[in-house]
C-alpha cells in the first residue's frame, strides 16, 4: 500500500483529537500560509497540482476556484458533507477520524478565495458528527486558529455547520445551497453558476470533504509530492469505498489509476465464497453496470479510463456484484432509490422513476410480461437528456446498461 495521506489516522492514533493533530504538525501549514503567502499563490499551487473534485464530477479544483469574480463580495466556501450516494462511506470516515485535516483544507480553501465565512453542510444522519464539529470549531476559535484577525493579520475566518434532514438530492450543489437558505432542496437553473451567484447569491466555492482534505498536503509538501501518486490527468491518491459481495469491504486509499482487479482481489480479498465476479458499479447507484470482463478488471480506476469503459468514476464507490446476484433485483433497488429521492421538480425524473419502479416491481414479483422489459428500457431511454439535473440522468444508467448486458436475468423473472 502506498503512503496514507487522507487516512493517516489509521497510522497515528487519536488524530481526531486536536492536541494529537497539532503534535503531528497540524495547522502549521495554515499558520504559515496565512502569515506568509498570498491567496493567489495557494490557488496557483492547487491548480498546478491537478487535484480533481472527489465528490463525483472530477472537475479540477483550482480551476473551479479561479472562476470567482474579484469584484463581487463576500465570497463563500461550502463543504459538501452530504455523502449520500449508495456505496459511498469515505467522507464519514474522514469526518469522524481525521476531521482536522478536512477542516485545515477548508480553511486553506477559504483563504485562497478570501472567504470570511465558510459552511459545512452535513447530511441529517450525521447529527452526532455535526455536534462534535461545533465543539471542535469552538475550540479552534478559542485557540486563535479561527476567528478575527488571524495571527495578527487582517484575515478573519468563521466556519459554521448546517445540518440537513435526509434528502439525497441535497448533495447536488445547487440543491444544497437551497437547503442552507432554508428552502426545499431542489436544484437551481444554471447559469448563473455558484461561482458567480451561489450561497446568498454571492460567489461560492463548493467542494467535497475528500477534495478539501487533500489541500493541506499540497500546501505542505508541494505540487510534485502530490503528483507522485496517480496518473498525469488524475493525480493523487483517492479513497475507494469498496462494498458488495467482497470478503473485505471498506475504505482503501490508493493511487488513482489502481486497477479494479487490485482493489477487489488484493485489498478486498476477493469475492465471498470465491464466487465469480459478475459486474461492477464504480460510482454507486449512479453507475452504469459494467460486466466484469478481464479487460474491465484490468482497467485503471482514474477519471478517463473508467469513463472509457462506460461509467463515470464518480466518488469511487465501487460496488461489486457476483454471480449469485440477479441484476433485475439490483435495478429494482436503484429505481426505488431514485424514485424516493427525486425532488419532484421536473416531470421526466419524477414520473419516469415512478413508472420504472412500477414496471420493475411487476417483473420482480414474477408477474411481468415480455413487453415489460422493452417498456422499462423505453421509459429509461426517453428520460435521458430531458431531466433538469443529473439525478434524473443517473437514475437511467443502471437500467439501460443492466438491460443491455444482463437481459437474461430479467427474462428469468418473467411470468412463465
Amino acid at each position: 500500500m502506498s503512503e496514507l495521506i487522507l487516512l493517516r489516522h489509521r497510522e497515528v492514533a487519536g488524530l481526531n483529537q486536536l492536541k494529537t493533530y497539532i503534535a503531528d504538525g497540524g495547522f502549521e501549514t495554515w499558520k504559515k500560509v496565512v502569515t506568509s503567502r498570498k491567496p493567489e499563490e495557494v490557488l496557483n499551487d492547487v491548480k498546478a497540482s491537478g487535484l480533481r473534485g472527489r465528490g463525483g464530477a472530477g472537475f479540477p479544483t483550482g480551476v473551479k476556484w479561479s472562476f470567482l469574480p474579484n469584484n463581487i463580495w463576500p465570497h463563500y466556501v461550502v463543504a459538501n458533507s452530504d455523502e449520500s450516494e449508495p456505496g459511498t462511506f469515505k467522507d464519514r470516515e474522514l469526518l469522524e477520524f481525521n476531521p482536522y485535516l478536512f477542516i485545515e483544507g477548508l480553511m486553506l480553501t477559504s483563504f485562497a478565495v478570501q472567504a470570511n465565512d465558510a459552511y459545512i453542510y452535513f447530511r441529517g444522519e450525521f447529527s452526532q458528527i455535526a455536534k462534535k464539529f461545533d465543539e471542535r470549531l469552538a475550540e479552534l476559535t478559542a485557540k486563535g486558529l479561527l476567528g478575527d484577525a488571524l495571527f495578527g493579520t487582517n484575515y478573519s475566518l468563521r466556519i459554521h455547520t448546517h445540518l440537513g434532514a435526509g434528502a439525497y438530492i441535497c448533495g447536488e450543489e445547487t440543491a444544497l445551497l437551497e437547503s442552507i437558505e432554508g428552502r426545499l432542496g431542489q436544484p437551481r437553473l444554471r447559469p448563473p453558476f455558484p461561482a458567480v451567484a451561489g450561497l446568498f447569491d454571492k460567489p461560492t466555492v463548493i467542494n467535497n470533504v475528500e477534495t478539501l482534505a487533500n489541500i493541506p498536503y499540497i500546501m505542505e509538501k508541494g505540487v510534485d509530492a502530490f503528483r507522485k501518486n496517480g496518473t498525469e490527468k488524475s493525480p493523487g491518491t483517492k479513497i475507494f469505498s469498496l462494498s458488495g459481495r467482497v470478503k473485505k469491504p471498506g475504505n482503501y486509499e490508493l493511487p488513482l489509476g489502481t486497477t479494479f482487479r487490485e482493489l477487489i482481489f488484493k485489498h478486498g480479498e476477493g469475492i465471498i465464497n470465491d464466487a465469480k465476479v459478475k459486474a461492477i458499479m464504480p460510482a454507486g447507484a449512479s453507475s452504469t453496470l459494467i460486466p466484469a470482463t478481464d479487460a474491465a478488471l484490468d482497467t485503471p480506476m482514474d477519471y478517463e479510463s473508467t469513463t472509457a469503459i462506460g461509467s463515470p468514476l464518480g466518488s469511487a464507490s465501487v460496488m461489486v456484484l457476483d454471480e449469485t446476484v440477479n441484476i433485475s433485483r439490483v435495478i429494482n433497488n436503484t429505481v426505488h432509490f431514485f424514485s424516493h429521492e427525486s425532488c419532484g421538480k421536473c416531470t421526466p425524473c419524477r414520473e419516469g422513476n415512478f413508472w420504472m419502479s412500477h414496471i420493475s416491481d411487476r417483473i420482480e414479483s414474477g408477474k411481468g410480461k415480455k413487453d415489460d422489459i422493452e417498456l422499462l428500457n423505453s421509459v429509461a431511454t426517453q428520460m435521458q437528456n430531458k431531466c433538469f439535473c443529473a439525478l434524473g440522468e443517473f437514475s437511467t444508467m443502471a437500467v439501460v446498461s443492466g438491460l443491455q448486458h444482463f437481459r437474461a436475468d430479467f427474462e428469468a423473472r418473467l411470468e412463465s
Binding site: 449520500s84 456505496g87 447529527s127 442552507i180 432554508g182 446568498f200 454507486g284 433497488n333
Partner: protein, 187 residues
C-alpha cells in the same frame, strides 16, 4: 408568546448569527431540529413559532418539514429504527435482516409497536455500507448508528432501551426464542 424563543433564547441567537442578517430563512432547518429535539416531532405550534422567528409563512415551514425525511409532523414510536436496504446493504443481507426483525417484533416497516416504543422504517444509504446490515436509531432529534447487526443483536439492544425509555420490558411476539448474542465486531 413564542415558547421556542422563550425556552432557547441563546441557542436561537447563536443559530441566527450563523447567517447574514437579512437571510433569517436560512435558520429554518436548525430551528426545526431544535423543535424536534424537544418533542420528537414538529408540532403545529412549533411551525408557527419558527415561521415567526424566520419571517416566512407557516406553509413554507410546513413544506420544508414535508420535503425532508428526518423531519416528522406526528409523534410515532420513541425510537425510529431505520434500516438501510439500499443496494450495497441489500448485497450483504440487509433485506433478509429487516424481514426477520419485523417478524420478531410483529410490526411491518412503517408501523409502530402498540407500546409506542418502536417505529420501523426502511431507509436509503446511510454511508456505512461496509458494515451492513445496519440501522440508525432516531430518538428525538438524535441519530445513532448500529452496525453489523443480526436480529438477535438488535432485539437485545431494544430490550435495554425499552426499560430506559418506557420503563417496561420489551414486548415482542417471539421474544422467548431470541437469545442475546455474543458481541461481534461492533465499533
Amino acid at each position: 408568546m413564542n415558547q421556542l424563543l422563550k425556552k432557547f433564547p441563546e441557542e436561537i441567537n447563536r443559530i441566527l448569527a450563523r447567517y447574514p442578517i437579512d437571510r433569517k430563512q436560512a435558520a429554518v432547518m436548525p430551528l426545526l431540529h431544535l423543535a424536534q429535539g424537544e418533542e420528537g416531532f414538529v408540532s403545529r405550534t412549533a411551525l408557527q413559532e419558527i415561521a415567526e422567528i424566520t419571517g416566512i409563512s407557516t406553509t413554507e415551514v410546513a413544506s420544508v418539514v414535508g420535503f425532508y425525511t428526518l423531519f416528522h409532523d406526528a409523534p410515532e414510536g420513541k425510537i425510529r429504527l431505520q434500516v438501510c436496504t439500499d443496494v450495497a446493504c441489500d448485497l450483504r443481507g440487509a433485506t433478509e435482516y429487516l424481514t426477520e426483525l419485523c417478524e420478531k417484533l410483529g410490526i411491518k416497516p412503517g408501523e409502530t409497536s402498540t407500546d409506542g416504543l418502536i417505529t420501523i422504517e426502511e431507509v436509503k444509504c446511510l454511508a456505512a455500507c461496509d458494515k451492513a446490515p445496519l440501522f440508525q436509531a432516531q430518538i428525538g432529534d438524535e441519530v445513532d448508528y448500529h452496525e453489523n447487526q443480526t436480529p438477535a443483536r438488535t432485539i437485545d439492544w431494544l430490550r435495554s432501551m425499552s426499560a430506559a425509555l418506557i420503563g417496561t420490558p420489551l414486548k415482542t411476539i417471539s421474544l422467548e426464542e431470541t437469545k442475546p448474542e455474543e458481541g461481534g465486531s461492533h465499533e
